[in-house]
Subunit: 231 residues, 2 copies
């Protein structure tokens, strides 16, 4: 069965892509939604090459960068990306309003257009703390909306909805996901900054999973004094 | 209260814009979703100028034309627009998969970003026959998804959901909506073609409303032999 997977090039969607390939005909979709940088494109490319999806020409890129001109958020570059873990102060700069509904709606339209039966995305428990559009009640509602909007042609898969990021990292290691090729950092420098909220999440997930983190961080000491042991 | 209105420059969204201006602080949003032509931009502009919304600089255009590259549909130019009324054969070429969910998701993200409390769109009973994403059950579901996706910051308004297009035309006439400046035709020629499904709907709505149709059609005799008296 054809399945469109929202692939950002980060850990979660890369593991999801690897996991689904064995059961579905995976069509990864990378959406440029006007994010601050496009390091993620290289990562999405690299993940697909590693998993043999590149030669199949199934990876699709779509330029919706106009979104960055009407939706204000640190991820689009209008605000600074803060250092430190997610807190009430830092969350606002990292939340792109209604982003996942937009990405899923586009993915569902694309899926219907190519005759795919599913759309999949990698929302998980840790993201649900920060992002309202990663919570189970959102997933249930958006699943229903996609079904109604596509005339019951496209169903939503969100298999990590009850998982922690640590579980995803462990699972991905078993699937030999090339973590070093994935990209998480919001800042988009030469290497992961090691300080922004998503870099700290990435580090912590590897630490809790008891796995070596293959990521090159600019500031490799950040973890020790900045993490609050949230998970 | 700030309200983002999805304005396509057609009759329904133009009447909606006129209707809401008296009660809300209206912020019209025109989305280029890769449609076949952009005659609608001129129409949206003209409607805003006529209603005094132009000088307020509230009309926003956003270029998401990349959608036309991944979602196949006659409206995006990959298929021919058929002549004649909506039938099982012609509908397929005119349905852009999941279009309204995409447009509403984007409008909701924009609304949250500018601190607007509502998003409004002009779905009505006649469209519901053709488009699954104009039906009451879709509206109820997408309203819930928007609420959850935006952390209850944005609510959906769809005030025409129980109305026919004829009722909208009558209502708009009372509001002095400049119908001659609006654009419906899918083909995007110099004038409305007068033959495509949406031109036929437009003609029929004026006829049933008992109002003079100010539209210049290329083929002004089309109505007499093509309409099946559906509404």
């Amino acid at each position: 069965m054809k399945t469109v997977v929202l692939l950002s090039g980060g850990i979660d969607s890369s593991v999801l892509t690897y996991a689904l390939v064995s059961e579905y005909e995976v069509w990864p979709l990378f959406i440029n939604y006007g994010q601050r940088h496009l390091r993620e494109i290289d990562a999405a490319n690299a993940v697909c090459v590693a998993r043999g999806l590149w030669l199949s020409e199934r990876l699709k890129f779509v330029d919706l960068s106009g979104l960055g001109k009407i939706i204000e958020c640190g991820l689009h570059g209008q605000r600074l990306i803060p250092d430190g873990p997610y807190t009430e102060e830092t969350i606002d700069a990292c939340v792109s309003p209604n982003r996942n509904m937009i990405l899923l709606a586009v993915a569902a339209g694309y899926a219907q257009s190519i005759g795919a039966e599913h759309v999949a995305y990698g929302a998980h428990t840790n993201d649900a703390v920060v992002y309202s559009d990663c919570r189970p009640e959102f997933v249930a509602s958006v699943r229903e909306t996609i079904l109604l909007g596509t005339g019951s042609k496209v169903a939503l898969l969100a298999p990590f909805i009850g998982w922690t990021k640590t579980m995803i990292v462990k699972f991905g290691a078993g699937l030999t996901v090339p973590f070093a090729k994935t990209w998480s950092c919001y800042k988009g420098g030469l290497h992961h900054c090691g300080k922004c909220p998503t870099c700290l999440d990435r580090k912590e997930a590897f630490r809790l999973a008891g796995l070596e983190d293959p990521t090159h961080y600019e500031d490799s000491d950040a973890l020790t004094f900045e993490m609050k042991g949230q998970w």
